[in-house]
């Protein structure tokens, strides 16, 4: 998965004006996406993972939104690109699949027409050609009886079917990048398994690069190549799937991993929970944003936000924690993080 860099994010910030001031949803993120990889963006509510992904294609512009930094795609900066230019990229080169397929689909339009519309928005094809391609796409995403499904309205389909339709719309123009925001969160596990398999198939057969936004670490373990963990608008740890999940370096990542109730391994009597709540307001502590909840925090943590850099992990494994190697080992032990 060491393909060329497709999307380069530099110093991205997203702030929203709220009654209490300006909410720093994304507080400076550097990230690159390579061709054909699945990059998981992990975090809890308010971590900024959705705000980050929406600003990649200019979907959260508007009054009260302040977006800074750069998102470079084929030499263009999508942060400063005009709306017209963005419309040419969105849905064609970079497609977005949302969690809530019922809200994202037009309830009064047939499924097939909605897929065909996306094709015709970016290509000069006839209505008939677009319609036939739409049916093909519905078949490709695993919808049984695609011709019949194309004539259905969104409410006539199940949640799993609608999510596939969303993916079919996303794939309509064979995008280089697919941003999938919690694509399986509303689905039952048996349907989730089908959708995840579809995503990995896209990656392997079409070379699509996928940004998978999720809070589910099991899903990450299942499909991701690389993982970026977000907390309070910043990436606090980043590395390969194996590095982040099986050699976690940041106490927040460790805490997340150990608080997942698992169906395998020993059934522990108590889950090692992370105390306190995620940051939600506009105020941020001076030092590490996780320090107020971190059982291993000391004075150095409250002084300044540690930079994201390689410390004790693998070659591309970076984190924002000042703890030394011995303290990290103790933290992993205290949080009962399972050995690899």
């Amino acid at each position: 998965m060491s393909g060329e860099t497709l999307l380069e994010i530099r110093g991205l910030t997203v702030g929203f004006d709220v009654p209490a001031g300006r909410l720093p949803a994304v507080a400076g993120v550097d990230l690159s996406l390579r061709r054909g990889e699945i990059l998981a963006l992990v975090g809890e509510s308010g971590s900024g993972k959705s705000a980050l992904s929406m600003s990649l294609v200019g979907l959260n512009r508007g009054p009260g939104a302040h977006i800074g930094g750069e998102v470079l795609f084929h030499g263009r900066d999508l942060v400063t690109a005009g709306e017209r230019e963005l419309r040419g990229v969105r849905g064609k080169d970079i497609a977005v699949v949302f969690q809530d397929s019922l809200a994202a689909l037009n309830p009064t339009q047939r499924i097939g027409d909605q897929v065909a519309e996306m094709i015709r928005a970016h290509r000069k094809v006839t209505r008939g050609q677009a319609g036939r391609r739409a049916e093909e796409l519905l078949g490709e995403v695993g919808i049984a009886g695609p011709a019949q499904a194309a004539r259905a309205y969104p409410h006539q389909l199940s949640g799993g079917m609608r999510q596939r339709v969303m993916i079919a719309i996303g794939l309509a123009n064979d995008p280089a990048v697919l941003i999938a925001d919690e694509p399986t969160t509303a689905l039952d596990v048996t349907i989730q398994a089908q959708v995840l398999r579809l995503l990995t198939k896209l990656q392997s057969e079409h070379g699509t690069a996928i940004v998978l936004i999720t809070h589910d670490l099991g899903v990450v373990a299942e499909v991701a190549d690389r993982v970026a963990v977000m907390y309070a608008g910043r990436i606090i740890e980043q590395g390969t799937r194996d590095e982040v999940l099986f050699d976690p370096q940041h106490p927040y990542t460790m805490g997340l991993l150990s608080s997942v109730p698992r169906v395998d391994g020993p059934a522990v009597a108590r889950l090692p929970a992370i105390a306190g709540n995620p940051l939600t307001g506009v105020a941020r502590p001076a030092g590490c944003a996780f320090a107020p909840r971190c059982p291993f925090a000391h004075d150095a943590c409250r002084a300044e936000m540690p930079p994201l850099r390689r410390r004790y992990g693998g070659t591309a494994h970076v984190d924002r924690c000042v703890l030394d190697d011995a303290a990290r080992t103790r933290a992993r032990g205290a949080l009962e993080v399972l050995a690899p």
Binding site: S45, V189, A273
Partner: protein
């Protein structure tokens, strides 16, 4: 070990929705289920399987269409008036949505005290004391009582919902997806809180969840539902060691796991849940079952005991050897 005492016994419990005009959906279809004193029974299944409806019908938040509910041996299915109010105080519910289920206009203390004043007719000063103790116990602190729900985060609101359910000192609590709306780190806090309360108060609980990992950490026994019926009942350890029903097997195998190794073979269910208004003939799972044979398409299996404490609704349970007979 003393013999378990049944606390709740459901017999042929049925809940139908719709009716005249629309199509009738049988959400809960003749469920027989016993919940023993002091246990936590985990009720699992996918959306639309009827698990929430069954939970609500058990405490008559939704009125059953047929069958009986016994509480400590007494039939409470049609109990009315003062008798029902007293019984209702013993049977409480915690809901999934910590945002929609709390009245935003009232203080937390009022919200928590309400079932106590209404069902138990507790005098106000005593109610006040009970509420303060409860708010301490669920980790909010008694000073939270003067505030309103919107001032709290999702996890804290769920603690308010739990305090409210526990206020009338119930013996039995139905918890319907109580941690599903919460972030992972908060979810673990609330699971631990529930586990503590169950132990300290000797609660009996029906814990409804679609999340098998969560259920594994809190339940003593597991019941699996599919299309309105219970298709497997087993002890927690037996179930997670290997479900006996092909649906349970597929469900467990679909859960993404945090393991380094590429996972074992996944049993992928094809297709969607059949329309609950027109369930398939024979075994209702046969349309998605990889082991189905002709008999499954015509003859509906009964929930049968296949081992001590283990019941399965399948002609070819995956026991004692793996795979169908």
């Amino acid at each position: 070990m003393k013999l378990p005492t049944p606390l709740i016994e459901l017999e042929k419990l049925r809940v139908d929705f719709g009716g005249s005009g629309g199509r009738r959906v049988r959400a809960v279809r003749d469920v027989d289920l016993t919940i023993y004193q002091g246990e936590t029974l985990g009720l699992v299944g996918e959306s639309g399987c009827g698990k929430s409806t069954l939970g609500r019908a058990t405490v008559r938040v939704t009125e059953p269409t047929g069958g009986t509910i016994r509480y400590l041996g007494a039939d409470i299915t049609t109990l009315r008036g003062a008798h029902f109010r007293q019984t209702r105080a013993e049977l409480q519910m915690v809901f999934q949505d910590p945002f929609g289920s709390l009245n935003p206009r009232r203080t937390v203390a009022d919200i928590v005290a309400e079932p106590l004043l209404r069902a138990r007719r507790t005098p106000r000063p005593e109610a006040r004391r009970i509420v303060d103790d409860l708010l301490d116990q669920v980790g909010l602190g008694r000073e939270a009582g003067t505030r309103r729900p919107h001032e709290f985060s999702g996890g804290q609101r769920q603690r308010i919902g739990i305090a409210r359910a526990l206020a009338p000192a119930p013996t039995f609590v139905v918890a319907d997806e109580p941690v599903s709306a919460l972030d992972v780190s908060i979810q673990a806090q609330v699971i631990n809180l529930l586990a503590d309360l169950i132990r300290e108060r000797g609660l009996t609980m029906l814990f409804i969840s679609h999340d098998l990992g969560v259920v594994r950490h809190i339940a003593d026994r597991i019941a699996v539902m599919y299309l309105g019926e219970i298709i497997e009942i087993a002890s927690r350890d037996d179930f997670f060691a290997g479900p006996a029903h092909p649906y349970g097997e597929a469900l467990l195998s679909s859960v993404p796991t945090l393991s380094r190794q590429p996972r074992r073979e996944r049993i992928e269910l094809t297709g969607d849940l059949p329309d609950p208004a027109a369930p398939p003939a024979g075994c209702t799972f046969h349309t998605r079952c990889r082991y189905a044979v002709d008999r499954c398409r015509t003859e509906a299996p009964a929930l049968t005991e296949v081992a001590a404490g283990r019941q399965v609704r399948c002609h070819f349970p995956l026991l004692p050897v793996k795979g169908p007979a």
